[in-house]
Amino acid sequence: MAQSTAVRSGTSLALFLAATAFAAGRAFAQDEHTGDAGTLDKDSAGKGVEKRPYSPYADRSFPTRPFFGDTHLHTGFSFDAGAFGCRLTPRDALRFARGEQVEASSRQPVKLSRPLDFLCVADHSDNMGFFPDLLAGKPEVLADPTGKRWYDMIHEGKGQEAAIEIIVAFSQGKFPKDLMYLPGTRAYRAAWKETIDAAEAYNEPGRFTAFIAYEWTSNTGGNNLHRNVIFRDNADKATMVEPFTVYPPMGSDNPRHLWKWMADYEAKTGGSVLAIPHNGNLSNGRMFPIIESFTGKPIDREYADGASKWERLYEATQTKGDGETHPFLSPNDEFADFQRWDKANLDGSVAKEKSMLEFEYARSALRNGLKLESQLGVNPYKFGLVGSTDAHTALATIEEDNFFGKVSSGEPGPERLVTPFFHNKKTGVTIMDWEVCASGYAAVWAQENTRASIWDAMQRKETYATTGSRMVVRFFGGWDFEKADAESRSPAFAGYSKGVPMGGDLHAAPSGKAPTFLAAAMKDPLSGNLDRIQIIKGWLDAKGETHEKVYDVAWSGGRTPGADGKLPSVGSTVDVENATWTNTIGAPELIAVWKDPDFDPSLRAFYYARVIEIPTPRWTAYDAKRFGVKPLPGTTMTLTERAYTSPIWYTPSAK
């Protein structure tokens, strides 16, 4: 009903085109006996997806469910996680993600509302395994005066301060050389081996996927350029290498060298790896450069090739803020101001300037990617989107009512509503604990729950980011979607047969046609209803400038856009004091077909869907209620969870 008001009219050529699209035969086989498009009768063609075997489920090979997981979780094996009090190991992290109850580092029992489908334990490659030894007072560590001081601080209960010092020291290149845990040493190899062994022990094809992974932690000057490296392979290949690190001479802080390492790994083992850049919001303008920070020169074709080949996905949302876009970059986007961390870089050593924002948010990077593609011939920033936690607790739990913080010292307790998370004495940059976000998860449309299948779906970017809710989101682009496709019982049939899924490409617009999109979402059974689905378009104009526009394409009942085209707010049912809400507003499911009304076939463009939930209580509201603590003035107490799909790109044919 209401959502259909948003559906732009389908093309009248649909009958014929539906048939030709089937002839292209993307995802499922034709019925041999009626395979000729000419025999299609009007009645069934009008339904859009009838050109199939009698059984609607026969020959189906496309993904039928999204798998939810976390591509970015730290355990006590990460030196900073350990400093913040994390005592849990990769094995604990995996047991927890599989749905078991465990005891958190703060000694509280904790369990997920539902198991996750996959997990990447991605501990920092630099100093992997350092922390358990520091904690235990390993003589080699204590022999160093700084190591001794950190050790003493931790045992005097100043673990949080020690953690910050360790991170700052690492960021600023002042980590004591004698303390470095370098690849090639026995301690280092033991930590990597145990990381792999844990993944092997808990990987259960068909039920739960445990990826082998690590995080490369390029952080020079406190500017966060981290990447998570995820192996498609099993232990036999992963044990043939040790992770790439940052500290010279073995490591490097330059992503080009990471890509080289990845290429070497594949050449040496015949295996496959991909990298997911960490949310760039703390990179101070360096995550998606046009001018490379390492050389001061414009990025070249080689950089663009490397980025597009190895960095298939981008982490658009996590506990240290959401990175979709920023109000400064998207002044006309009323949902742009969401869980933003825009004060400084990772260690708070350099304050943020507005000019940096363009090079560290997903949407502006996608826009600049179009521009760079027109100049270099390759789009370096053609990435799909995922969310992940980056929790340093070994606990991938980021539902608002079950949030165990970003670091172990931020696990539930009456203090965390009022304490600072981070304070840089020199610059005065402070981030409060309440600003930490309970976000996000990665959703992957894979055929089955295995390393190979999920990794392949990541590689082809058939993924979306969520801020923690487990909504089901579909997004397809093609030239012939029509209203009937949003009415069919299984919209994915039409989606795969007439178009490409999220992460795909559209080329060579047929004469007189504009791209059409099938966008659909269903709520998380345990979370809020849906407010709306939006499609965000970015494009490069003929003068070489980029633009963006947000379209509402489906929304819950009873609302009509005003004269300014703006859809009225869905409202709110949140009772902050009691941390409750009701699903009396919004819709459990939304679907629409949308056609770009402003399409110019000569211009490069991308489109992605954003799904917004109705307002629900933020974790701060649950804390205030459960601990009886009064939040500080200005604390955000509600939020609208959301999902961002990987884009679909349109590229004009070469002239």
């Binding site: 235990a136 269903m522 459990p588 499911e589």
Partner: protein, 293 residues
């Protein structure tokens, strides 16, 4: 020894102790052929080779003779001072040394716990004693048709009933009824806990219990109402050993590691008389629950 006796923590610990002793003796034997006297320090070829390897790792090249000599001198100095410190009792009451020794002890027990593959008999027994750990959840195959309240409003319930009546006639095609649905419309032997997570608990309970073989409903899910046709069901059941072997191996390994550690600690602790001033604990701690919600 009988299998039962083998499972006694104390027996395990004694075995562990014997193993440790053997490991230790072996290590000593290989360390240096002739153990030097307490006031003698020998830097032999093996030690020098290992110092050289460490140097290379750090500097990415072999040391010159002067550099290697310097490293050897550092080593000698450290050894002499460490022995002297021990001799005059500096190791006593040093928290760092104490903690490190405790950690080494624990590593040893863990290493021993990991030694060797568990016997087939151990695994089978563990499997028999922990059926719940290896149970296979109930499963159900079903087809369903979704009816959206968002689209149908008040009429939804009636529409489901009408659809069920229509679907119950021969030749009816469920793919032409109902509203769009993004998840599978036909699930084959889906675990009930997975169905609950994805459709809602109420829905999973319904497909677990409604009559099979005919269209039933309306059944409520997190998304709206459904007509459901349940096909086969498989009740939850214990998995036989062979089917669960990989899981048994993993769980048994974890369990044995924890238990061996606990048993070893308990056995050692049993040799000590421990006294704790409980009144003092109460005096110095917050009352229970004071920091809770």
């Amino acid at each position: 020894m009988t299998p039962k006796l083998l499972r006694e923590p104390l027996v395990q610990f004694l075995a562990l102790g014997a193993a440790l002793f053997a490991v230790d003796a072996w290590a000593r034997r290989t360390e240096s052929v002739a153990a030097p006297a307490p006031d003698e320090i020998v830097i032999d070829a093996a030690r020098i080779a290992s110092l050289r390897a460490l140097y290379e790792q750090q500097w990415r090249r072999a040391p010159t003779e002067t550099e290697l000599l310097g490293t050897v001198e550092d080593e000698i100095r450290e050894e002499i001072l460490a022995r002297e410190a021990q001799a005059i009792g500096l190791a006593q009451d040093d928290a760092v040394i104490r903690r490190r020794l405790a950690q080494k002890m624990q590593f040893l027990t863990e290493d021993v716990a990991r030694l060797g593959a568990p016997s087939e008999e151990d695994l089978r027994r563990f499997h028999t004693e922990n059926p719940a750990l290896f149970a296979r959840p109930g499963r159900v195959s079903f087809e369903h048709v979704f009816f959206s309240r968002e689209r149908r409003g008040e009429k939804t319930q009636g529409d489901v009933r009408a659809a069920i009546a229509a679907l119950s006639k021969p030749g009816a095609d469920p793919s032409r009824t109902g509203d769009p649905f993004l998840l599978e419309c036909e699930l084959s032997m889906a675990p009930l806990d997975d169905v609950a997570n994805r459709f809602g608990k109420q829905f999973a309970d319904a497909v677990a219990t409604v009559s099979a073989g005919s269209w039933q409903g309306p059944v409520e899910s997190a998304y709206g109402l459904h007509a459901v046709l349940v096909g086969a069901r498989e009740p939850g059941r214990a998995r036989p050993f062979e089917e669960a072997r990989a899981d048994v191996l993993r769980e048994y390994g974890e369990r044995r590691r924890t238990e061996t550690n606990a048993a070893a600690y308990a056995a050692i602790r049993g040799r000590f008389k421990v006294t704790v001033d409980e009144a003092a604990i109460r005096k110095h701690a917050l009352p229970e629950g004071a920091s809770d919600r």
